[in-house]
C-alpha cells in the first residue's frame, strides 16, 4: 500500500514540475523536449492506474508524433521567445481563482477507486456485463456481489451518498428490463454486444460507441485535408 502511494506521489510531483517548466522555459526547443517528457510521464501515470490502452496511445501519439510535429514547426520559426515580464499577475490571479473554484467543486466527488461510486453501479456497468467478468462454474454473478453494493446494503441517502436516492429509485437492485431482448437479438446469453473480444476497450470503441469512432475518424481525415489546404501553396511551388 505504501509503495503504490509513493509511486503515485512521486510521479505526480514530477508531472507538475515538468508542466511548470514547459510553460516557463525560454528556449522553445527545450520546451518541446520537456513536453515529450511530460507525455511519457502521463503514460506512466495511466499505466499505474491500469489504463493500458490510454497509456499506449499517449506514449505513441504524445511522446512520438506530437514531438515530431512541434519540431517540424520549429524549423520555420525562431528558437528563443522574447524576454517579457517575468510573471503576468493578472493571468495568475485569474488562474488561481478559477483553480480554487474547481477544487472546491471536486470536494463532492467520490474518493479515488470508491466501489460505491455512481460510475460502478449504474446502467452502463450492468449493460457492459461487469458481471461477465465474474462468470465461473457457479453461473452468472450479479454486479452487486463484486462491489460494496449488496442487496441488503444499498446505500441510503445521507450526506456521504446524496446520489443514492436517485439510483435506488431509478435502477433499484434488479437488472435492467431490456436484458432478455438483448439475449434474443444477439444470441449471447453472457453479454450484450461484446462478441468474443477479450479487450473490452476495443469492443466498446468499435461496437458500443461505433458512431463516435466513425465520426472521430472523419475528424482526423478532416484535419489531414485542412493541413493540405493550408500549406499547399508552398509545396506546389517546391514540387
Amino acid at each position: 500500500m505504501f509503495n503504490t502511494l509513493l509511486v503515485d506521489i512521486s510521479l505526480l510531483t514530477l508531472v507538475v514540475v515538468v508542466a511548470i517548466a514547459v510553460v516557463e522555459v525560454r528556449n522553445l526547443l527545450s520546451a518541446i523536449m520537456l513536453s515529450g517528457i511530460y507525455s511519457l510521464l502521463m503514460a506512466l501515470i495511466w499505466q499505474n492506474m491500469n489504463a493500458v490502452d490510454v497509456a499506449f496511445t499517449e506514449a505513441a501519439v504524445g511522446a512520438g508524433i506530437s514531438t515530431v510535429l512541434l519540431l517540424g514547426t520549429l524549423l520555420h520559426t525562431e528558437r528563443l521567445t522574447k524576454i517579457g515580464s517575468r510573471v503576468n499577475w493578472g493571468a495568475l490571479l485569474v488562474v488561481v481563482v478559477t483553480g480554487s473554484f474547481l477544487i472546491y467543486g471536486t470536494l463532492d466527488m467520490p474518493d479515488l477507486g470508491d466501489p460505491s461510486a455512481p460510475i460502478h453501479n449504474g446502467r452502463v456497468v450492468q449493460q457492459l456485463g461487469q458481471r461477465v467478468g465474474k462468470i465461473d462454474h457457479e453461473g452468472v454473478h450479479m454486479p452487486w456481489q463484486f462491489n460494496s453494493m449488496t442487496e441488503e446494503s444499498v446505500p441510503h441517502p445521507d450526506e456521504e451518498h446524496p446520489w443514492a436516492e436517485y439510483f435506488a429509485e431509478e435502477y433499484g437492485t434488479q437488472l435492467p428490463a431490456h436484458e432478455p431482448a438483448a439475449e434474443r437479438v444477439h444470441g449471447h446469453p453472457l453479454d450484450d454486444f461484446m462478441g468474443h473480444s477479450p479487450n473490452t476497450v476495443t469492443s466498446l470503441l468499435a461496437a458500443y460507441r461505433g458512431y463516435d469512432t466513425m465520426y472521430e475518424t472523419a475528424v482526423i481525415f478532416t484535419a489531414g485535408m485542412s493541413l493540405v489546404l493550408l500549406l499547399r501553396r508552398r509545396s506546389e511551388v517546391r514540387a
Partner: protein, 137 residues
C-alpha cells in the same frame, strides 16, 4: 471539519486541477504562439487524467480479460476498472493531436505572413499597417 475530511479523500483531484491550471496559465499569459499551443496540450492532458481517474476501481485490474474459452470461463476474476472512460479518452487523445497539427499549420502560415510569432509584435504590425481600422475599433 468535514471540509478537511473530504479533502483528505479527494486531494488527487486537486492535483489534477493544478495541472490543468498550469496549462491554462500558459495559454492566457504567454505571448509566443507555440507556447500557447503547448499550454493547450497541457490543459487537455490534465483533463484526460481527471477523466480516467474517476473510473478507477479499488483493487481492480485493467479491463482486459485474459482468456476466454468456449463456455466463457475467464481466468481473470476480480473487479475491473470501468472501461468507458478509457474509450472516450482514446478518441480525445487522437483528436487533440489532430487539432494541434492544424494549429501548427496556422502558426507556420502566420510566420510566413508576418515574420514573427510573438503576439504583441503581430499586433504592432497590424496596427502599423491599418491605423484607420485601429481608430474605428
Amino acid at each position: 471539519m468535514s471540509f478537511l475530511g473530504s479533502f483528505a479523500g479527494t486531494y488527487n483531484y486537486a492535483i489534477y486541477i493544478v495541472l490543468m491550471m498550469v496549462g491554462f496559465y500558459g495559454v492566457i499569459a504567454k505571448k509566443n504562439l507555440i507556447k500557447q499551443a503547448l499550454g493547450l496540450g497541457l490543459f487537455a492532458t490534465g483533463i484526460f487524467l481527471y477523466y480516467i481517474s474517476i473510473g478507477v476501481y479499488k483493487g481492480g485490474t485493467a479491463p482486459v480479460w485474459t482468456i476466454i474459452d468456449e463456455v466463457g470461463v475467464l481466468k481473470n476474476p476480480g473487479p475491473y476498472d470501468n472501461p468507458l472512460s478509457h474509450v472516450l479518452i482514446l478518441t480525445a487523445i487522437v483528436v487533440s493531436v489532430s487539432t494541434l497539427a492544424v494549429a501548427l499549420a496556422l502558426i507556420v502560415n502566420i510566420q510566413r505572413a508576418y515574420g514573427t510569432i510573438e503576439e504583441d509584435e503581430i499586433r504592432a504590425i497590424e496596427a502599423g499597417e491599418h491605423p484607420e481600422e485601429e481608430e474605428v475599433a
